[in-house]
Symmetry: C2
Subunit: 211 residues, 2 copies
């Protein structure tokens, strides 16, 4: 009993640190995030923080894994009510809400600005694969199979392309929003307009007839 | 006279090393590329190679800059004969030929697998910006202005999205080709089919009517 109680505390402490990290990495650049400050906020010693995470990069990877897991869970939780297209629209809305919630962190990560390493690239790749897998499974619900006229190998290339579209458009959108903070005259497209562009790109991609 | 002759030799030597580097980084992973072997092939001492490039990463960045410059030059050289859509089709063909020519290097770079740093991310970003700039300038030729119904801020988001589409689809295509080397039964889409998917995504992206 006691042992599992201690174990739970360890997990809770770790989760609390990751939560703090998500907020920090989301608003500051990797270099600006201070481990000292994080330890202070969590009211633990710097030594104890390093007990959970051997270095800042390992801590970053743990936060990234948590964020990626939340994104996938969020997409899985999207209601499938209404038409398949409604489902797709809600899924892209959920994706954009996630991106907005992690704005700076998302843009920095996806542009490789933190000095990416293999383990970071792996988390990003694994998340992309999870999204492509879900898309492939559900695509037939969203777009009638009869309307998908790409052979499976080409469809995989097209779906990966579309994930790239959603990522790149989201980065450009977040960066426009960041630029507008210091230049309020700058116009930033609203989320619904960005979502429509992304949804339309998928439908056009898998339907030869739209070309 | 003599001084400029020596200077030319320096530039030629540097260009020769970059040429060798492009071939090496194109077929091997960053870690597998050996500076000793490169010096041997160029018939210079390892010390002299480090005179041109302080370290392997600097050498890699020089090769990447050369490859990026060639891509942009190649796209600028595409014939504008025929219809605007013909022009776009040829531009995407040129892009895919570049990607195929630098297959492994392109896939590794774009997946962040070499442990990206800021300077590498900058070359990639600068190249993307050059492509978006050209696209923005020429889009009205390719697609009649009257048919582009996205406001400029949203159009920029959409074009960045499309560049992301082209990159991600190209990576998936190159990786399918690499996988097929050790699994000949695996189907790889041909370049023309991949190009059609990419071209179609752009047309659909900028034309609200296609959605």
């Amino acid at each position: 009993m006691k042992r599992s109680r201690v174990r739970l505390d360890v997990d809770e402490r770790r989760a609390q640190l990751v939560e703090l990290g998500l907020a920090e990495f989301g608003t500051r650049s990797f270099d600006e995030v201070s481990i000292d400050l994080l330890a202070e906020r969590a009211r633990i010693s710097k030594g104890l923080l390093y007990h959970y995470f051997p270095n800042k990069r390992a801590f970053y990877v743990a936060c990234l894994e948590e964020a990626a897991g939340r994104l996938v869970a969020r997409l899985d939780a999207v209601s499938t009510e209404g038409s398949p297209l409604d489902h797709l629209v809600r899924a892209v809305d959920a994706y954009l809400a996630h991106v907005r919630g992690h704005g700076r962190a998302f843009a920095t990560l996806m542009r490789g600005g933190i000095g990416q390493g293999r383990e970071i690239a792996e988390v990003v790749d694994r998340t992309r694969e999870a999204l492509v897998e879900r898309l492939t499974q559900r695509l037939a619900e969203v777009i009638p199979a009869v309307a998908i006229d790409l052979a499976p190998p080409l469809l995989q290339v097209a779906l990966r392309g579309w994930i790239g579209f959603a990522e790149a458009a989201s980065i450009a959108w977040v960066e426009a929003a960041i630029a507008a903070e210091s230049d309020p005259g700058r116009a930033v497209p609203d989320a619904a307009a960005v979502r429509d562009v992304i949804v339309r790109a998928l439908v056009a991609t898998v339907q030869q007839a739209a070309g």
